[in-house]
C-alpha cells in the first residue's frame, strides 16, 4: 500500500453516526467528514461546521440580476434607441419591474447553484474514497465517518482505536 488517504469506519444507525460525529469533533480532528446517503438533521452542528456560505453567492447574484435588469431596460429603451410607445415615458422604474424581478431570481439561482458547487469544491473528477468498497456502500444504507491522513492529529494506530472506541465497525484504510 502506497500513500494513505485515511481511515473510514461504519456506524450502525443514524443516532450512532450523529453521536460519533460529535465525539470526533470534540477530539479536535479537522480533516474528516461524515458520509450518509441522506442529509442528517443537525449534522453540521454535530460536525462543528459553520453555517453554509451559499447565501452569499445568492445575494451577489440577486443584486447583479436586479441592477443588470434596470440598466438594460434604461439603456435599450431610453438611451440607445428610444421608442415612443403609447406616449409612455422612455424610462420609469415601474414598468420594467417584471424584468428586474425575473432577472434577480434568474441570476440569484445561478449564484446559488454556482455557490453550492464552489463551497463543495465540485465538480471533482476523482477522490480516493471512490476506490473504497465501504464508501460505495454509503449509497445504500451504510453510514460512515472518514478521517483523513493529513489531519494533524492523525495516527494510524491511535485514530483507528479512537474510531473503534466511539462505535465504529468495519474499519478500513483507504489508500490515496
Amino acid at each position: 500500500m502506497s500513500e494513505k488517504y485515511g481511515i473510514i469506519a461504519s456506524f450502525s444507525d443514524t443516532p450512532a453516526l450523529f453521536h460519533a460525529a460529535e465525539k470526533v469533533r470534540d477530539a479536535g480532528y479537522k480533516k474528516w467528514d461524515t458520509y450518509s446517503s441522506f442529509p442528517v438533521h443537525g449534522m453540521p452542528e454535530a460536525q462543528g461546521q459553520a453555517r453554509s456560505k451559499v447565501p452569499i453567492f445568492t445575494f451577489i447574484g440577486g443584486i447583479t440580476g436586479f441592477c443588470v435588469g434596470l440598466l438594460m431596460v434604461w439603456w435599450m429603451n431610453a438611451y440607445d434607441y428610444p421608442l415612443i410607445i403609447r406616449g409612455q415615458p422612455y424610462f420609469s422604474p415601474v414598468f420594467p419591474f417584471p424584468i428586474m424581478y425575473e432577472l434577480t431570481i434568474l441570476v440569484a439561482a445561478f449564484g446559488t447553484l454556482g455557490g453550492m458547487f464552489l463551497t463543495n469544491m465540485l465538480p471533482q473528477h476523482y477522490s480516493p474514497l471512490f476506490n473504497s468498497q465501504t464508501f460505495l456502500e454509503v449509497s445504500g444504507d451504510r453510514l460512515c465517518i472518514a478521517i483523513e491522513a493529513h489531519d494533524g492529529l492523525f495516527d494510524a494506530v491511535e485514530t483507528r482505536r479512537f474510531l473503534e472506541e466511539i462505535g465504529g465497525t468495519d474499519i478500513e484504510e483507504v489508500s490515496a
Binding site: F18, F38, P96
Partner: protein, 501 residues
C-alpha cells in the same frame, strides 16, 4: 415541563395523534434505494416501448403541424380578424399552468415543511420542465417567422432595435425563460445525490462482477453498467454524500425553494398580464393574477395525479405514494378548484357591480353567447368536479380520481379558450364580430404536444431517478438522529416524520 403541566396532562389524557407514515409498511433505507434505482437499472419493460412508440407517432403531429406552418405562414391556423389569438395562446397558457404544480411541490411545500412532497417531487418537477418545453413552442411559432424569434431576447441584431420592455408580452419572455431555466437548475441540483447513488451502484456491480445469464447477456450487462458508471458520474459531478456536501446542498436547496416560490407566483401573474393589461372587456380585470395562479396549480395537480396514479400501479410504488399522498393532492385540487370557482362567480358579480355595459355584456356573452358550450364544459369540469374530493370514498377510488384529474385539465383548457376567444370574438364593433374555429393544423400541433410531453417523460422515467431517494430517506423515522430508528427496518411507524424537533 413542570409538575402542574404534568398533572394537567395526566388529567386530560391527550389523545394519541396518529399520522400515517410517509413510507408505508416499515420499509428500510435499502428497500427505498433498490426500489427507485431498479426502475432505471432493470430491463426496459414492454409497456415502455409501446408507450414510446405511441408517443413518438403523436409527437410527429406537432412536427407536421409546425412544418406546415413554417412553410406556408401563420394563416394556416384558424386565426382571422378579430380573433388573432386562438389555440396557440390557449395552449401556451394551458401548458405553462400545468408546470406550476411541479414548482409548487418542490418549492412552496418545501418551505412549508410538508414531508409528503418528497416522493412526488422529482416527477412533478420533470413534468414542469417538459410542460414549459411544450408551452414555449406556441408563442415561438405564433410570431410567424420563427427564425426571427430571437429578436424577443435582448441580443443585438442588424436592425439595431431592442425589445420593447413596456409590453407585457416582453415580460412574459423573461418570466417564462427564467421559469424554465430555474426549474432545470433546481431539478438538476436536487438530482445530484441520486445520480451519485446510481453511479456508485454501477461501480459496485462492476466490482462484484456477479452477472448472470449467457456469455452475450453478461457482456451486454457489463457494457450497460460501464455506460451507467460514466453517464451518472458525469451528471453527479463528483458528489460524495459527505456531511459537508449536504450542509451546502441543503442550504442551496432551501434558497432555491425560496427563490422559486416568488418565481412561480410571478410567472402566471405575468401570463395573466398578457390579458389584464389589454383594455378588452373580460380581460381587463384585477382578479386575473390570483385567479390564474390558482387555476395553474389546480391544473398542475390534476396532471400530477394523471401521471402518478398509473406510475404507482406500474412500478408498485404503493409504499412510497400512499393514500395520504393521494388524499393531499386531491385536497389541493379541491382547494384551488374552489378558488377558481369563486373567481368565476366573482367575475360575474363585479361585471354587474361595475355597471360597465361592455363588461357585463362580455360576461353574459361568455356564458350564454355563441361559446356557451365551452363555458359549460369549463364550469362543470372546474367547479363541480373537484367538489367530489370532499368525500373520502372518492379520494380512495383511484380509477375515479384518475378520470377526474383528466376532467380537471379538460376544464382548465376550456377556461383558457373561453377567456381568450370570447372576448376577442365579440369586441366593441359588432360589424367586426366573428366566430373562431381551429383548423386541422391547430389540432395536429396541439395534440402532438401531448406526444412530445410523453416522449420526454418516458425518457426521464428510463434514465433518471423517479423519486428523490435522499429526501424520501430523510422523512423516514430511521433518519432521525435523536430517534430510535436504525435504518434497518424496525422504526416506530407512529413516530414523527423527521420534522418533530
Amino acid at each position: 415541563m413542570d409538575a402542574t403541566q404534568a398533572a394537567l396532562l395526566a388529567r386530560v389524557q391527550p389523545a394519541e395523534l396518529y399520522e400515517s407514515p410517509l413510507v408505508a409498511n416499515d420499509r428500510d433505507f435499502n428497500w427505498v434505494t433498490e426500489k427507485i434505482c431498479r426502475i432505471v437499472e432493470t430491463k426496459t419493460p414492454l409497456w415502455w416501448w409501446v408507450c414510446m412508440a405511441v408517443a413518438l407517432v403523436t409527437a410527429s403531429f406537432t412536427g407536421l403541424g409546425l412544418l406546415w406552418l413554417v412553410s406556408t405562414g401563420v394563416g394556416v391556423w384558424g386565426l382571422a380578424n378579430p380573433i388573432n389569438w386562438g389555440w396557440a395562446i390557449v395552449n401556451f397558457v394551458f401548458w405553462i399552468g400545468i408546470g406550476h404544480a411541479g414548482t409548487l411541490i418542490s418549492a412552496v411545500l418545501c418551505l412549508l415543511k410538508q414531508g409528503w412532497r418528497t416522493s412526488i417531487n422529482r416527477a412533478a418537477e420533470a413534468m414542469t420542465i417538459f410542460a414549459v418545453v411544450c408551452a414555449g413552442i406556441f408563442p415561438l411559432f405564433h410570431v410567424g417567422r420563427v427564425w426571427f424569434a430571437w429578436w424577443l431576447f435582448p441580443i443585438p441584431n442588424s436592425n439595431a432595435i431592442w425589445p420593447q420592455f413596456r409590453s407585457p408580452l416582453e415580460w412574459d419572455v423573461f418570466a417564462v425563460s427564467t421559469y424554465g431555466t430555474v426549474s432545470v437548475l433546481f431539478w438538476y441540483m436536487g438530482m445530484m445525490p441520486d445520480l451519485g447513488v446510481l453511479r456508485d451502484r454501477a461501480v459496485l456491480r462492476l466490482k462484484a462482477g456477479s452477472y448472470e445469464g449467457t456469455k452475450i447477456a453478461k457482456q451486454v450487462a457489463v457494457g450497460m453498467d460501464h455506460f451507467r458508471k460514466n453517464f451518472y458520474a458525469i451528471l453527479a459531478m463528483g458528489w460524495r454524500n459527505a456531511g459537508n456536501h449536504w450542509r451546502n446542498y441543503e442550504m442551496a436547496y432551501l434558497v432555491l425553494a425560496g427563490l422559486s416560490t416568488p418565481l412561480v407566483l410571478s410567472v402566471h401573474t405575468i401570463v395573466s398580464f398578457d390579458f389584464a393589461l389589454a383594455v378588452l372587456p373580460g380581460w381587463h380585470t384585477t382578479i386575473f393574477p390570483p385567479y390564474f395562479v390558482a387555476g395553474a396549480i389546480f391544473s398542475g395537480f390534476g396532471m400530477v395525479l394523471t401521471l402518478m396514479l398509473p406510475l404507482r400501479a406500474l412500478y408498485g410504488l404503493h409504499d412510497l405514494i400512499t393514500q395520504r399522498h393521494i388524499d393531499n393532492m386531491c385536497k389541493i385540487c379541491l382547494g384551488t378548484g374552489s378558488i377558481v370557482g369563486y373567481a368565476y362567480i366573482m367575475e360575474f358579480f363585479i361585471a354587474w357591480y361595475g355597471a360597465n355595459p361592455f363588461e357585463s355584456y362580455a360576461f353574459i356573452n361568455r356564458a350564454f353567447g355563441q361559446y356557451w358550450w365551452a363555458y359549460l364544459i369549463m364550469f362543470s369540469c372546474n367547479v363541480f368536479t373537484p367538489q367530489l374530493f370532499w368525500f373520502k370514498k372518492v379520494r380512495a377510488n383511484h380509477a375515479l380520481v384518475w378520470i377526474m384529474s383528466i376532467l380537471i385539465n379538460v376544464g382548465m383548457w376550456f377556461e383558457r379558450f373561453v377567456i381568450t376567444v370570447t372576448s376577442l370574438a365579440n369586441d366593441f364593433l359588432p360589424s367586426s364580430w366573428g366566430y373562431y374555429s381551429p383548423t386541422m393544423v391547430d389540432i395536429l400541433t396541439f395534440f402532438g404536444t401531448f406526444g412530445l410531453f410523453s416522449v420526454l417523460f418516458l425518457l426521464f422515467l428510463r434514465f433518471l431517478p423517479l423519486m428523490p431517494i435522499a429526501e424520501v430517506k430523510f422523512v423516514m423515522p430511521a433518519a432521525d438522529p435523536h430517534g430510535h430508528g436504525s435504518g434497518h427496518s424496525h422504526g416506530d411507524p407512529a413516530q414523527g416524520q423527521g420534522d418533530h424537533h
